[in-house]
Amino acid sequence: MAIVLIRTLLIYALLLVTMRLLGKRQLGEMELSEFVVAAVIADLAALPLQDIGIPMMNAVVPIVTLFCCEILIAGISMKSLRLRTLLFGRPSILISQGKILQSELRRNRFTLDELLQELRSQGIDDIRKVKTAILETDGRLNVLLSASAEPVSPELLGIDVPEKGYPIVVINDGRTLSANLRHSGHDARWLEKQLKSHGLQSAEQVFLMTVNAFDEIYLAKKEGQP
């Protein structure tokens, strides 16, 4: 029991470090090889936890080896376009100017049903509206609509809309995020003043407070606060 507990904690720590160092990409954005490596690492990690007769080294060595290979391949493929193409393939155009490129569809083993399903999921019901549909190397289908089918934007209408900037969280569940506060160009005195103007004594009474580049504030009090 104690051995399983200790092994679990050690493997968990190793996985945390490995996954953290492998990068921030989410599962859905992984390349096929990255997904396979992640799945193999998960399987390897489970082995010594299920059977205490298997030395932990039998999991640690392959996990560390795969991690090193992944880091090296990622680093080299960042520099070499040829290697990147070899390992991850290249994006394929499946629809061009409203016309399905059937040979590309076959080459990528992408069925017509899958293509239509992807288009429907993006709210596109008419293939003629599609200027280009690109199957990315991570399996996602990105669709660019023809100019006439694109949604109306302020730019198209010639309307000048001022940028609002990104709202920065300065209080998160009662805690003041000092770095964010500094990043927003304000200090503790400013924050205190803002809280007082909302009838609050301290940051602990605030659930969420954000401020954007125009000093527009969003403030949500904690439930139960007057």
Partner: protein
């Protein structure tokens, strides 16, 4: 680039570690095998006390190496080897030559298994 270099260094460290592991298991099994072969000769000559002393010497080497074997070798293999040690010891106590020689062969086979398992040979890789 630092991360890639660190990964390369770690990979090289693993290669060195693997080479060290092969050398260590070689040394361990070779030293025990020498004891057992001498023990086998003693059995053939009917000298059971010497055979048992050499067996105990080999067993002591194997037990002493436990911190290494338990980390790097499957525990099933270690248990099988220990069983083979005690089977051989039991036949020596009974002073039965054919059984003792067979038990010693079995023990040598287990040791060879542990050794070859760690060697990067086509048989152990595939």
């Amino acid at each position: 680039m630092k991360r890639e270099l660190a990964a390369l260094a770690l990979l090289l460290l693993l290669v060195v570690g693997a080479w060290w592991n092969v050398q260590t298991v070689d040394q361990l099994t070779d030293s025990i095998r020498r004891d057992l072969l001498q023990s086998q000769q003693a059995v053939a000559q009917g000298d059971y006390p010497t055979a048992e002393r050499l067996l105990q010497q080999g067993l002591a080497r194997f037990v002493k190496a436990a911190p290494y074997t338990q980390v790097f070798i499957r525990h099933d293999e270690i248990d099988s080897c220990m069983d083979a040690f005690y089977d051989y010891a039991a036949t020596l106590c009974e002073e039965e030559s054919p059984e003792a020689l067979a038990a010693c062969e079995k023990l040598l086979y287990h040791l060879q298994g542990i050794d070859s398992m760690e060697h990067p040979l086509p048989g152990s890789i595939f």
